[in-house]
């Protein structure tokens, strides 16, 4: 079965006054139709950059190399016209920070019908509006709120509007970038439920990005953990969460309480230190300065992804099955 | 305790000064301003006081409308007076009124802003009402009306400009005070038993002073331009020469038709340069004091 999305050796470099800064350093993964991949890591590890890179949404001044195959076509080498056509119809993004992702002076329904009308996925405007109202209903927003402006909705409602908006043109792939981060636990659960429901109903492929590992196990089959611009562990989500083999994953898993598990809330273990500066990465394994299990050999070279369990890989020389 | 705080404050100002000098706009502004300040102070050394006395000028045999080629360095006017003298002494008035009026503006504006923001409640609403009113009313007609009623003098001019310009400062300072009030260190100070005045002096003032300083330097251009306009319209003190008055006399006595460019150009150029200088200084200060503005460049 051909993969829906195939990312090969994706590298993103920013050009700054201090020189070149690598935000993503050779990321590769595949996603089958209907599959869901969770992408976890602290802020600054490059996950949002990678998400934006898939649809070439990075600002000017960035260099992207590698391959991003959507079906058979490479997004990175598409002509501008084809790229614009593929955006939102092939893959759509649910951005984080819903208040800023919505145009404050445009009604919610118009923001959903905009891509429909642009890509002509409905025959006319009326049909587009009907579809928009349908989508809002599916994410739990009543029809009488469709004409509202973003500031009139609550944070959770705005986030759900973003989801409805992302589904407007029935994309094959949905990339959700931190969709629940700014929300409180109750609303978080609601939004996750909506996403799971939609995924099941539409056979939607999904990439779910967050820094909260526990959230990912609900929605995703597979999990990948990023650190300093690279994937450092991946595998089936339950397995990676319950049996993390990379020290960073272990720390991440312990740092966040599981939804519904009171005991884990009482004992979060924060990671000490700060994420590394992408412009000045430590020698060898970039995690070794903060790693509780680090040994001398860790300073020598950056370990590649090696098998660390059934269908599980980790970029750590100490992680062996 | 006080020694440490004092040192830190001085260090901060040294840092500000250094950052200021590094910015090209700041440097240019200061250099231009320095030139005119020196000119104004050294007026008796570089120019004579005969500028206001046509009788003396006639007695000295100066021609009417003398070009700079005939009578250096800036020629003479309709009354045979030296334009250069008027220019040099005029700089004094423009700078003096500009600074004094701005000082008054900032004084009233900051006082109102701090009190209004800090005390809050009904006093705040009342003061803001008054401020709003001043902001809507067109300031020049107001200044004209006040000047016409109060009479022509330098003091009145300073008062009129100060009185019509304080509202925008008040509003700016008030919003800054409101932001500061929400910060915990103010609450902590109060819970420790600090009286209102103490809190204002120790915590509010130091954090607002940077903003006030930047605002002052930006208020000077407005004061100078207002003074120039009021003098041009005939509301200045007839005894003292200011750049605005020079322009008025030039215009009224037909310097335009006669092409007597040496009469109406220098005063205008002087105003533009001084205003530019203060604007550059003010903008540079503003960028240093409010780091958010740095991205705007």
């Amino acid at each position: 079965m051909t993969a829906l999305l195939s990312v090969r050796d994706l590298t993103v470099t920013y050009r700054t006054s201090q020189g070149e800064v690598p935000a993503v350093r050779g990321v590769s993964f595949e996603l089958e139709p209907g599959g869901s991949l969770g992408l976890a890591g602290e802020s600054g590890c490059g996950k949002s950059t990678m998400a934006n890179a898939i649809l070439r949404l990075l600002p000017a001044g960035t260099t992207t190399t590698g391959e991003v195959l959507l079906g058979e076509e490479d997004v990175l080498t598409m002509k501008p016209g084809r790229l614009r056509a593929v955006r939102w119809t092939g893959a759509a993004i649910v951005f984080q920070g819903a208040l800023h992702a919505l145009n404050p002076v445009q009604r919610v329904i118009d923001q959903i019908t905009e891509p429909i009308i642009l890509h002509k996925t409905e025959p006319d405007e009326k049909a587009a509006e009907k579809r928009a109202v349908d989508l809002l209903g599916q994410v739990g927003i009543p029809a009488n709120r469709a004409e509202d402006y973003p500031h009139q909705l609550s944070g959770g409602q705005r986030q759900r509007v973003l989801i409805a908006m992302a589904l407007a043109c029935d994309p094959d792939l949905l990339i959700a970038d931190e969709p629940t981060t700014a929300l409180d636990l109750m609303v978080q659960a609601q939004v996750l439920a909506v996403l799971e429901k939609l995924r099941a109903e539409r056979q939607l492929s999904m990439i779910f990005i967050t820094h909260d590992l526990s959230v990912l196990t609900y929605v995703c089959d597979r999990l990948a953990v990023m650190y300093a611009g690279r994937i450092v562990e991946r595998g089936p989500s339950d397995q990676v969460f319950e049996r993390p083999t990379h020290p960073y994953t272990r720390a991440l898993a312990a740092a966040f309480p599981t939804i519904g598990d009171r005991e884990s809330r009482m004992n979060p273990s924060g990671l000490k230190g700060d994420p590394p500066d992408p412009a000045a990465l430590p020698a060898g394994c970039p995690f070794h300065p903060r790693c509780p299990d680090a040994i001398d050999r860790c300073r020598d070279a950056e370990p590649p992804l090696l098998p660390s369990g059934p269908a599980q890989e980790a970029a750590c020389i100490l992680a062996r099955p | 305790m006080t020694v440490v705080v004092g040192d830190r404050k001085r260090q901060r100002w040294v840092e500000v000064a250094r950052e200021f000098w590094q910015a090209r706009s700041g440097r240019i502004g200061v250099i231009i301003l320095a030139f005119f300040v020196i000119l104004a102070i050294a007026a008796p050394l570089v120019a004579g006081t005969d500028y206001i006395n046509p009788v003396k000028a006639r007695a000295a045999g100066l021609p009417q409308w003398g070009t700079p080629a005939e009578v250096g360095p800036l020629g003479t006017d309709h009354f045979r007076r030296s334009v250069w003298d008027q220019f040099v002494y005029g700089s004094r008035i423009s700078l003096l009124v500009g600074l004094a009026a701005s000082f008054l503006t900032i004084l009233i504006g900051s006082a109102v802003g701090i009190v209004s923001g800090f005390v809050g409640g009904k006093l705040d609403s009342a003061l803001m009402r008054i401020t709003e009113w001043f902001l809507v009313i067109p300031f020049l007609p107001l200044a004209i009306v006040l000047a016409a009623v109060l009479g022509r003098s330098l003091l009145n001019m300073i008062f009129v400009i100060g009185i019509t310009s304080w509202p925008s400062t008040a509003r700016l300072v008030r919003s800054q005070v409101l932001t500061l009030k929400q910060r915990t260190f103010v609450d902590r100070s109060r819970s420790l038993g600090g009286s209102g005045l103490h809190v204002v002096r120790q915590h509010i003032l130091p954090n607002v002073s940077g903003l006030i300083l930047a605002n002052t330097t930006l208020a000077v251009p407005i004061s100078i331009l207002t003074e120039t306009t009021l003098s041009f319209l005939g509301l200045g003190n007839p005894q003292t020469a200011s750049w605005g008055k020079t322009l008025e006399e030039a215009f009224v006595n037909g310097a335009i038709a006669r092409n007597a460019w040496w009469y109406y150009l220098p005063a205008g150029v002087g105003i533009v340069l001084v205003v530019l200088a203060f604007t550059l200084i003010g903008q540079t200060l503003e960028q240093i004091v409010d780091p958010r503005l740095k991205d705007r460049r």
Binding site: N52, A85, A101, L102, P104 | V136, P138, G268
Partner: protein, 321 residues
């Protein structure tokens, strides 16, 4: 739009106007202790006649009564007699309104449109030579006294090159009518309008530029691109409507400045409007005229502020709900 919002704004405007009336009354009562004597100074009039006139003018009443008289008279547009012409102030003012409306109207519109366009252009090409030259030249014009700029343009445009007339609104002794007259007036308005426009477009350029720079950082622009919109559409449909909101607010404030600027500029160009009337009234001092003109200027600015507030409410949904 919310009716409560509109009513609130109108009420506010009326209150402000009320304060202007009070201020006007008391300011001039402070100076004009005996208007009758001032009005008829230089004329040989017996004392009883003066007393009789005082009673006629209601000057023997207490201050409160005089204020009520003042309000009634103002409502009936009885603004007193001009010292200089002995004609009713309102008649003098009325005849000069059209000339100033033409000049200030043209200049206010031109400065807004050109200034904003320059600001947008500067922001879009931020950091380039275009940006730099626009920002420095607008700052330069802004630093000039408006009437001095007028004098320079007068010299350059009329005295030296003879392209434009030296002053007035029509050629003296001209008996043209209809289109010919209109063209003549347009010919005369060119230089003063150019002066006011150049002097006051600076603020628009600065505000438009910085507002657009702020808006360009917003996330919803990335979302618009992600939907597949072309860059131009993103700018025109999403960036500009948000970025130009502060310009609307500015137009209210700037109108006051342009109107005030007309006072000195009309004088330089002998433009027979309210500005020149003010300048002439200062020479007296013709206090009734100044009082009437101040009232009119204030009312005009208050009205314009009200219109701008209501327009802004229409454009920015966050304000009116």
């Amino acid at each position: 739009m919310n009716a409560r919002f509109a009513i609130g704004k109108v009420a506010g405007a009326l209150v402000t106007l009320g304060f202007v009336l009070v201020f006007n009354f008391f300011l001039f009562r402070v100076v004009q202790t005996d208007p009758v004597a001032t009005l008829f100074r230089g004329r040989n009039i017996p004392q009883e006649r003066l007393d009789q006139l005082r009673a006629e003018f209601g000057l023997d009443k207490p201050l409160g009564g005089q204020f009520v008289d003042y309000l009634q008279q103002t409502a009936q547009l009885n603004l007193g007699l001009s010292y200089q012409s002995r004609q009713p102030v309102w008649n003098e003012i009325k005849s000069k309104i059209p000339a100033t409306v033409a000049l200030v109207g043209t200049s206010a519109v031109l400065s807004a449109v050109i200034g904003t366009a320059l600001g947008v252009a500067a922001a879009w090409r931020r950091g380039t030579k275009t940006d730099y030259s626009i920002t420095t030249s607008t700052m330069l014009f802004y630093s000039m006294p408006d009437f001095w700029l007028g004098m320079l343009l007068l010299v350059g445009g009329a005295i030296i090159t003879g392209i434009f007339p030296v002053g007035g609104i029509i050629d003296a002794g001209s008996s043209r009518a209809g289109i010919g007259r209109l063209l003549d007036q347009a010919h005369h308005i060119a230089l003063p309008a150019l002066t006011l426009t150049l002097a006051y477009l600076g603020e628009y350029a600065i505000v438009a530029r910085s507002s657009l720079l702020e808006t360009m950082k917003e996330d919803y622009l990335v979302v618009a691109r992600a939907k597949g919109l072309r860059d131009i559409k993103v700018r025109n449909r999403h960036a500009l409507p948000n970025a130009l909101l502060p310009v609307v607010t500015l137009s209210a404030i700037n109108f006051g400045f342009v109107l005030s600027g007309a006072i000195a500029v009309e004088t330089v160009f002998s433009w027979p409007g309210l500005g020149k009337a003010t300048s002439d009234a200062i020479r007296g001092p013709d206090l009734p005229m100044l009082q009437g003109l101040f009232l009119l200027f204030s009312a005009a600015v208050i009205l314009f502020n009200l219109i701008a507030d209501l327009v802004y409410g229409r454009l920015d949904p966050r304000v009116r709900t």
